[in-house]
């Protein structure tokens, strides 16, 4: 009984002599394999060489500081509210007298955690932030062995006070030369 019209009848004709010899087929396969040896490689040697990122690439978050070096985040919770993956949690605290240079407003986030396993890097937190505190950078979260290591706290999210500009530039240069060499 034929159920569909798309069924194909199996060809059960015996092999011809050339087909039985196998050698032409093996040779054809080898030609394809060897052709690939001379083609441009599709992979790169990752940690040494990195691909160029799109200018709008969304990577690991950064909690920015203002021009005086104080944290901009006030723990208003709008990033956590807008987060579709519910990756952001925070605890707010009140700024004490004498901490004005550390935190910009009366209230600040004493704990701010983003679970990078949950995060889908959609950038809605960046859009929701009324204080221009959170931004997605162009770096990707590093690989880790335990799940806990993917929960980024303030130690890894807050913008470093003094940015090691020279070091970054040196690394960039190294990366660029390696990339050019690989090309």
């Amino acid at each position: 009984m034929q159920i569909t019209s798309r069924a194909k009848r199996v060809d059960k004709k015996p092999f011809t002599f050339l087909e039985r010899a196998y050698l032409p087929a093996i040779f054809g396969g080898m030609v394809i394999t060897i052709k690939h040896l001379f083609k441009k490689k599709v992979t790169i040697r990752y940690p040494e060489v990195q691909r160029e990122f799109s200018p709008v690439y969304r990577g690991v978050h950064m909690l920015k500081r203002d021009e005086n070096g104080a944290e901009r985040c006030t723990a208003c919770g709008l990033c956590a509210l807008s987060c579709p993956a519910e990756a952001i949690t925070m605890t707010a605290d009140e700024r004490k007298p004498g901490e004005e240079n550390l935190y910009r407003e009366e209230k600040y986030a004493s704990v701010y955690e983003i679970n990078m396993l949950r995060c889908i890097f959609c950038g809605l937190c960046e859009e929701a932030c009324p204080k221009e505190a959170i931004f997605l950078t162009d770096s990707i979260p590093t690989a880790n062995f335990t799940r806990d290591d993917f929960t980024y706290g303030k130690d890894r999210l807050v913008e470093p006070l003094v940015r090691p500009v020279k070091h970054i530039n040196a690394f960039e240069e190294e990366r660029r030369t390696a990339w050019n060499k690989a090309r």
Binding site: L78, D93, E106, P130
Partner: protein
């Protein structure tokens, strides 16, 4: 009974009602907003000018329009009065101006403010205000004063609605706070930094339409939209003991009185408002102190409804969309 037309809707109300209360009896879009008027506080209203409406016919006997916009919370209805609220562009224009004035000295620190999410000024600005401020000058600043262990005063956010002074006058003997100075330097304060420690002083927090008076025990603990309001009660010797407990998981973060859709304290069967005492509000934060009745109904468009996926049980039962598949099933059985 008196017949009054508000926004092309005919409403019959008893004599002596104000335009605002007549509109609230009908409900819906035709209700003017109110910042200072509080129906449970005698003498409130007439200060913020947010509820301005246009009276295009004074009454049946004298159908001339009123020359200026009137404050609907203190103007009584007349038979045959015709009122325009949202249908009058003049009213919307005036209201936008009033909102701009209210926000002139407001610090707009909503990301820090504990009231954000249930703030009437936020709602008002969202519905009637301009998108951007035109104000360039410096805003008011005040010396911070401590008015006691339970209530946090942020004078910069105050809009001088006087509701909190009415609460102190009408709920507690001997008020110790009030409005000092006049005009643009007027401020809420206690006399020589007196602390407010009356049994019912916490209700000032509930009547405050903005974040000028907030709960110190809840200060910066969470945001209102992360919490779920639950109806709860306990046997209290001082007050009715009927409260809304704002919970997350099993933890009570704060206690407020139960509020209706106009942000006012709900009334009991006798019509008395369910004010709650400070012991219930500030001291009983343990879940075992309360009998939790169930989740409170929240407006679907409220920010407090964000990320809360459970619907109250009764609304589930009344949900027609859920009931329909059963009907379909019966029909298909019949056709088979």
């Amino acid at each position: 009974m008196i017949k009054v037309t508000i926004d092309d809707t005919l409403i019959e109300v008893p004599e002596g009602t104000t335009i605002l209360q007549a509109a609230r009896m009908h409900g819906g879009d035709l209700v003017p907003p109110a910042m200072c008027f509080y129906s449970k506080l005698k003498g409130s209203g007439g200060k913020c000018r947010v509820c301005l409406v246009k009276v295009s016919a004074g009454s049946e006997k004298d159908p001339r329009p009123m020359p200026k916009l009137v404050a609907s919370c203190v103007t009584q209805v007349m038979d045959g009065m015709v009122v325009q609220n949202l249908t009058s562009p003049e009213v919307l224009e005036a209201r936008r101006g009033v909102v701009e004035f209210l926000l002139l000295n407001h610090p707009l620190d909503c990301p820090i403010c504990d009231q954000a999410g249930e703030c009437h000024l936020q709602d008002l600005g969202f519905e009637h205000g301009a998108v951007k401020t035109r104000y360039m000058e410096g805003r008011r600043v005040f010396n911070k004063i401590d008015i006691g262990p339970f209530i946090q005063l942020h004078m910069t956010r105050c809009i001088l609605c006087y509701r909190c002074t009415y609460v102190a006058d009408q709920l507690s003997p001997g008020r110790v706070h009030g409005i000092l100075y006049r005009g643009d330097v007027a401020e809420i304060s206690t006399y020589i930094e007196n602390s407010i420690d009356n049994e019912f002083s916490g209700n000032m927090i509930d009547v405050c339409p903005v974040g000028a008076l907030t709960d110190k025990t809840f200060r910066f603990m969470s945001r209102v939209w992360f919490l779920k309001p639950m109806d709860a009660h306990r046997n209290c010797t001082k007050c009715c003991g009927k409260v809304a407990a704002w919970m997350h998981d099993d933890k009570i973060y704060r206690i407020t009185s139960r509020k209706d859709k106009y942000g006012e304290v709900e009334s009991n069967e006798e019509g008395n408002p369910n004010w709650i005492c400070n012991e219930c509000r500030f001291d009983k934060k343990d879940k075992n102190d309360w009998v939790i009745e169930g989740p409170r109904a929240i407006d679907r468009h409220s920010v407090i409804n964000q990320n809360h996926f459970e619907a109250p049980y009764e609304s589930l039962l009344n949900n027609r969309r859920l009931a329909e598949p059963k009907i379909l099933l019966q029909n298909s059985e019949e056709t088979n």
